[in-house]
Symmetry: C2
Subunit: 459 residues, 2 copies
């Protein structure tokens, strides 16, 4: 699109050097960690205050200019790309931890604070913010995409850990949703409506987050299984038995190979589970023993316990490095990363079907996931110069999504919709898509907020 | 209002004896468990299927006839009253547990199933549905009002335990929200939007609920404190210490007296805490010991342990009977029941201020609550024939709400807005009320769904 000259001038007047149309700057905001690509935005703004966000939005709303939120650009379904041009709001200068209230187990932060920065800030309090999608994403971006990750099985997702928001609506109005109380029955749950709305309803300018006590004791381990089925069925049995897992992660044998070549580990080329227990010394011992018994029933072996903080950090650094590790299995490849989430009883069948489908398409596509929630990912490695590989990967992703819907699951457990899953929204939600569109239309009537994302254009 | 004759005929044709305009029937749907009163609805319908709900709504929408959902009428803020006339939908005939999937820890129910009926149905599975507002409410009503209660401190509220809904929009369209997966990042969270919407956005016709494992071991106890401050500060210290309480309930000395006269107990006329622990035998012992230590620091004594299921049932039956027990403190009285919820660090001050304010107004108003969440109630006993007492009680409730807002809390932790808290919505939510109204307008443009509730008419 072309932004009128006087609008560019007004923005430059207000923001000075924090507004740019330089091509290098724009190009930095056109990338994505997965295969999604789009032209760069027309301009980039770095607001420092809610008032500036409000100013930018009301101006853009008046002139039908798209506005796209940008945290650190780690979303996997193209959520932060400016597919219809417009202005990208880079929130990195709103990176202050405004207030920490240990006695109320909450923190108030600006949206550009990353989860690692918040946890560093919290270290002395005995509290932590548990949601951990792997990437050191911003908390604003994590809220916008309803992020979850390895610890969601114990502590919930962003849905469960955002207590309140300040946000700016499309026309520049500033609203506050939620409260600092642990619960509320007063009115529509706008907090939950904005969490996961992927920047299509409002720009988040402040978050009040629920904190959790650092566990007295932590134990983590990795163990191997003979087959994917054994490993996944062990997870289902563990969850059904009620052992309170803090993390229970599956990686397949391709991912184990990727760790070996990328992280210098020496794992057998077999499926593995990575687990963690949080609690008192006594309860951790008890939970670990119960898990060990269940794993034994499914042939789990070669338990390697990470007892010190350093060993645990190594284990989870390896896990969090799975994406680059998998990419390195095929030099020069890019990835169609896709995730689905299914009811526990359907997990083994869903993972097996995905594996077989990847093989049938002749693709290399490691599978791993937060299986304690029934959530797993396939990282489909493709040569960016071979469109037939992209097409094959998209077919696999589409069939994974269709199978998830067929068994009562969801087309995305955590990566969100963005560009990549728009085509499946109607299949999952049916008429409810129209209700979502009505809500979008009510709050953003000119469709300036992240247009072209999440909801299909035609319903 | 006057419903056109031909509309009445169409409804009678379709529903037969399950549609009534008899004055006795209408009067049965004009009551409320608290002081709220309204004229009866013009008619009552008992739908048996989603298709019938859809038929009724599309007909009423076409003719601007209000529709009000009714579970068993136990809401406390007048949510189920037909303040603008219209048709009350009594959901009691949609009372089937449609499916229980223990392996996925979920149950699918119709909205007229009560929580006790569901738990009776689940007994053999080893699972239970934890949300427990005291009254044997319907699950549809509990979802509509975002109910919580004694166990929310451990298991969350209806917000956390409704996975998916089927609901009928104002114009009769049937939508499905959410999935059977443990989490989802696919689209706007319409489930959370409908939970707590008090029948103003849609009529819920099916719920998919998250179940939890029955704890291996349970222990409960009651203990007395010298002062309200000691008891409440003990709660704050307990929650801040991270002891995973399954319930932690406060009752003041008036409530203790009410139990003695109404439930035949022999409690000292002092503030008490009622607590419960869930877990393994080992963890329950450990948690109970930790709580005992903390309670000791605040002068808690006279611990009475309820070790058998029968003793525990007696303890919680007494607690759940608090409302009639308190009413019996003043024969002939009705009650202005009000609840607020504040951050934990503000709890002691909020409870003390409420107590002092009740005394200053010369009212009898026992205080009790789910204090582990920072949530407490005042049951302000008034003579229904003395308007000055109603006015005094409303002043107290209004100041409780204002103080909650001032410290970052909410005007209702669990009773909801209905009629009673409408006047405080703007003070709590500010501009966000307009966003709520825009969502309401988008989904119910003719304002037929529970009109006159929750959102103020003028914003």
């Amino acid at each position: 699109m072309t932004i009128p000259e006087f609008v560019l001038d007004e923005l430059a007047d207000r923001l000075g050097a924090r507004f740019s149309t330089a091509s290098g700057v724009r190009a930095q905001h056109a990338g994505s960690e997965s295969f999604h690509r789009a032209p760069p935005p027309d301009a980039v703004a770095w607001p420092e205050t809610t008032a500036e966000v409000s100013f930018i939005l009301s101006l853009c709303n008046a002139h039908d200019i798209p506005v796209i939120g940008w945290g650190v650009g780690t979303s996997l379904e193209g959520q932060a790309l400016a597919v219809r041009g417009g202005i990208t709001l880079n929130m990195s200068r709103m990176d202050r931890v405004i207030e920490t209230r240990p006695e109320d187990m909450l923190a108030v932060v600006q949206p550009g604070v990353t989860r690692e920065a918040l946890n560093a800030d919290l270290r002395a309090t005995g509290l932590f913010f548990p949601v951990d999608p792997g990437a050191n994403a911003t908390l604003g971006g994590m809220a916008a995409t309803r992020a979850s990750g390895t610890t969601a099985v114990r502590y919930g997702t962003m849905r469960d850990n955002v207590l309140a928001l300040e946000a700016v609506l499309a026309d520049g109005r500033i609203i506050r949703t939620g409260t600092r109380a642990a619960k509320s029955s007063a009115g529509l749950d706008l907090t939950a409506l904005l969490v996961g709305s992927e920047g299509t309803l409002a720009i988040i300018t402040e978050l009040t987050l629920r904190l959790h006590g650092q566990p007295e004791d932590v134990a983590a381990a990795i163990c191997a299984f003979d087959s994917l089925e054994d490993a996944v069925e062990c997870v289902t049995a563990t969850i059904q038995s009620g052992v309170p897992m803090a993390r229970i992660e599956f990686v397949d044998e391709d991912t184990a190979r990727a760790f070996n070549s990328h992280a210098g580990t020496d794992l057998p080329a077999r499926p593995h589970l990575l687990v963690e227990f949080h609690g008192s010394a006594e309860s951790v011992r008890e939970d670990a023993a119960r898990f060990g018994d269940i794993a034994g029933d499914f042939g789990g072996r070669g338990f390697d316990w990470a007892s010190t903080p350093e060993e645990r950090a190594r284990l989870w650094k390896m896990r969090h490095g799975a994406y680059p590790a998998c990419l390195s299995l095929r030099p020069g490849a890019t990835a169609v990363v896709t995730d689905i989430c299914v009811p526990m009883s359907e997990l083994a069948a869903a993972v097996t079907a995905a594996r077989d489908d990847i093989a049938a398409e002749g693709l290399l596509g490691p599978i791993l996931g937060h299986v304690g929630d029934g959530n797993f990912h396939a990282t489909l490695l493709i040569d960016p110069d071979r469109p037939e590989e992209l097409a094959a990967a998209k077919r696999v992703a589409g069939r994974m999504a269709s199978r998830a819907i067929a068994v009562g699951g969801t087309i995305s457990g955590e990566h969100g919709v963005g560009l990549g899953k728009r085509a499946y929204m109607a299949a999952q939600h049916g008429e409810a898509c129209q209700a979502m569109a009505a809500v979008k239309q009510a709050l953003d009537p000119r469709n300036i907020l992240n247009p072209g994302k999440m909801l299909p254009d035609e319903l």
